[in-house]
């Protein structure tokens, strides 16, 4: 297999890992050719044209423009090919997540907290089934972190104040490094963990072995009542607030005339910045929960509202 030929390089184990490796091999080869040519010329010129060496120095190239045009266009063409190649694989890596299995990742100084939809949680590790795309919804509690799995050739920053969705998939079972790649303070280098890619049966067993846990949606429901959300967002409430049943994934007309899709990001923003995107027909009366709920609680609330998607409003 050609990928073993790249020295000190273990093949990537994501569906596009081979494409990234091939790109790397292409870049290495192109660089080796250019560098080889350069060093060859340097050595030949340095030996042949050293001072005192009698050799033909006549007929120097005087008109240089056709050389210039030649190597400029050659560089340009090669660079454009590399650009197209690199970009096409990039779009493959960062494609819109399709996986129906959603896992939440909260990054904070200095740990990765992972919440599975069934309520199982883990710290500094992420168990996932092989050959099944997993949609990660990532948030940061404090500073910028970066979710980096070298074996999957995958990295994405986790920027506070926004959700980042990312699709991960491993094609080979195994344990892989998880690193924080964006400098985040004192224990930045301790913010590491592992990705455990398992056969589907092992994964199901692992989920079961995690002991009885309340699902995220259930915990979210409890929070929903605790924080007083249910006082307004209920059918029998005296306050005129939108009902959340059947909301998730649907288009929401806003008071400014535009429409947004009620996805994770919209729900999160509506909790923290309720006045920025007010649903049409409602008054901006909801208080902001900025600073009152943590990222952990937020993702439970979002999962709860998501779980209402199939209910009739």
């Amino acid at each position: 297999m050609w990928r073993q030929w790249i020295p000190f390089w273990r093949p990537g184990v994501s569906p596009y890992g081979g494409d990234v490796d091939l790109l790397f091999a292409g870049l290495l080869l192109a660089s080796a050719l250019v560098l080889g040519l350069l060093f060859f010329l340097l050595i030949v010129f340095c030996v042949r044209y050293r001072a005192g060496n009698p050799t033909d120095r006549g007929h120097r190239v005087k008109k240089s423009w056709h050389w210039e045009v030649g190597w400029t266009s050659a560089s340009l063409v090669i660079f454009l090919l590399l650009f197209v190649w690199g970009s096409s694989v990039y779009l493959e890596i960062y494609q819109k997540p399709q996986g129906e299995l959603s896992v939440f990742v909260v990054a904070k100084q200095w740990m990765w907290k992972v919440q599975h939809p069934g309520g199982q949680s883990e710290i500094n590790s992420l168990h996932m089934p092989v050959n099944r795309p997993v949609r990660l919804v990532m948030a940061s509690q404090d500073v910028i972190h970066s979710f980096f799995i070298p074996a999957l050739r995958l990295k994405h920053d986790v920027v506070p104040g926004r959700y980042q969705s990312l699709e991960v998939e491993a094609v080979t079972a195994g344990h892989y490094h998880l690193f924080c790649a964006e400098y985040c303070g004192t224990d930045h280098s301790g913010m590491i963990g592992e990705i455990v890619a398992m056969e589907p049966a092992d994964y199901a067993k692992w989920l079961n072995d995690q002991g009885p846990a309340n699902s995220l949606a259930r915990e979210g429901g409890a929070l929903f009542r605790e924080l007083g959300c249910s006082g307004c967002h209920a059918a029998n409430s005296s306050v005129h607030a939108p009902l959340l049943e059947g909301l998730y994934g649907k288009p929401v007309p806003l008071s400014d005339g535009s429409t947004v899709t009620a996805d994770d990001k919209y729900i999160r923003d509506s909790i923290l910045l309720p006045r920025s995107q007010v649903a049409a027909g409602y008054q901006p009366v909801m208080p902001s929960f900025e600073g009152k709920v943590s990222e952990d609680q937020l993702l439970r609330l979002v999962t709860y509202i998501k779980s209402l998607a199939d209910r009739a409003p």
Binding site: L42, Y49, A51, Y90, H188
Partner: protein
Amino acid sequence: MTEPDYLNSAYTLRSWFFTTDHKRIAILYFATLIGFFFIGGAAATAIRIELATPQADLVSSDTYNRLFTMHGVIMVWFFLIPSIPNTLGNFIVPLMIGARDLAFPRLNLMSWYLFIAGGSVTLFAILAGGIDTGWTFYTPFSTLYSNSYVIVAVTGIFIAGFSSILTGLNFIATVHRLRAPGLTWYRLPLFIWSLYATSVILVLATPVLAITLVLLATERFLGVGIFDPRIGGDPLLFQHLFWFYSHPAVYIMILPGMGVVNELISCFSRKPVFGYKFVAWASLAIAAVGFLVWGHHMFVSGQSLLASLVFSFMSFIVAVPSAIKVFNWTATLHKGSLRFDAPMLYALAFLGLFTIGGLTGLFLACLAFDVHATDTYFVVAHFHYIMVGGMVTAYFGGLHYWWPKITGRLYSEYWARTAAVLIFFGFNLTFFPQFVLGAEGMPRRYHVYPPEFQVWNVLSSGGATILAAAYLLPMFYLGYSLFFGRRAPANPWDAPGLEWQTPSPPPEFNFESQPVVTRAPYQYGPDFAAEPQNA
């Protein structure tokens, strides 16, 4: 009795600290920069010693974070950016264009004082407890979470920025207004073109850094929400503003090095630079396109896919003029008459190291590979090949080339060549393993790391030992030459440039009579001696 040279015209402290002579100001910068280079280098040494083992054994994590921040801040703003422009540039530019001084001599002195003030404030921040944000000061870490002297440090950098702006202005005005009679733009040495392009970036980009740092301090000090999402800011806004300065700043750091290499390769091949006009305009193209590539630092930050595509494309485009230069330098050697004096060894080392740095820059401009390699040691290795392998090597080359002119003394050729060779091997041993580390996925700014990365880290630390020794060597033989070196003739390299047509060291006002230029630069050859340029 001829006019006394600039070193002997006066001896008082006052004559140094209140001088407006560009040559003396260059010496002031030299002395200052040596200090900063050693402070930054000491931090690098501590980092490499710590990284020889996977565990934490020399320093704590907090100290480690302060060390790499200090290394970055000092080396970028207090060594690399001012290195060639403010020392060699200050000294050589007026001599090269046949002028008595820069256009604004007092502004030049003020630039140095601003630099000293900025440097002192930043050093104070380091001594008082250090900064732990990394040289990039990413928000919201730097505005809310860091418990270190962020505001003091950015104040220092802010002040030093004005030194950059004023120096850039001074060079631009000088090149426009003070060229000797007959010295048309296409007769200018390429070093001048490079410094001109550098100055344009200094003047246009540095104000953006100043604004960014003021915004950062405002948020940290007054709690005004600009970058912190908790109070309504956007962390990516900081990255856009910061890299809008800091990517062009990379070209501030490499263009002057390219300029020096033109002079060296031409001189020691005894030939004009091949494709003069292409090389000249390539400098300006780099300066212009360099402003449009900053987003390539943010391919994994969450900026839009379209933005990433555009920035990747522009990053490939900006590599074209650099490639043009490398090809032209190589072609300059063709049918030359090559001498391998120390400056030429540095120039050849530059050619190899800069090309490796440039090629690996293409890896990082390539979107899909950057996702894997960004924020790993691959990036660290890449920019050290450009900044240290490129710029610092060129700086040493230029320093050796113009040393006889600046000091009036000759150094030991044997030791200078030894140092050049040691630097080349030490450098590669230090930084090449870091490409492997990065490709394997070791993130940068890691105090402790998984044991599987140790082999390459040990190699790198071993190389750093050689490199450190090699960088110390010139201190000795150059220092020795100051006192015991043979007197240098006016033109030890038989070069046609104007700076060589006046005694070494030059008199206070550079030329005894106004030089007049009648031909293109780099007219080396057997006939050159018969045709003195100093009319």
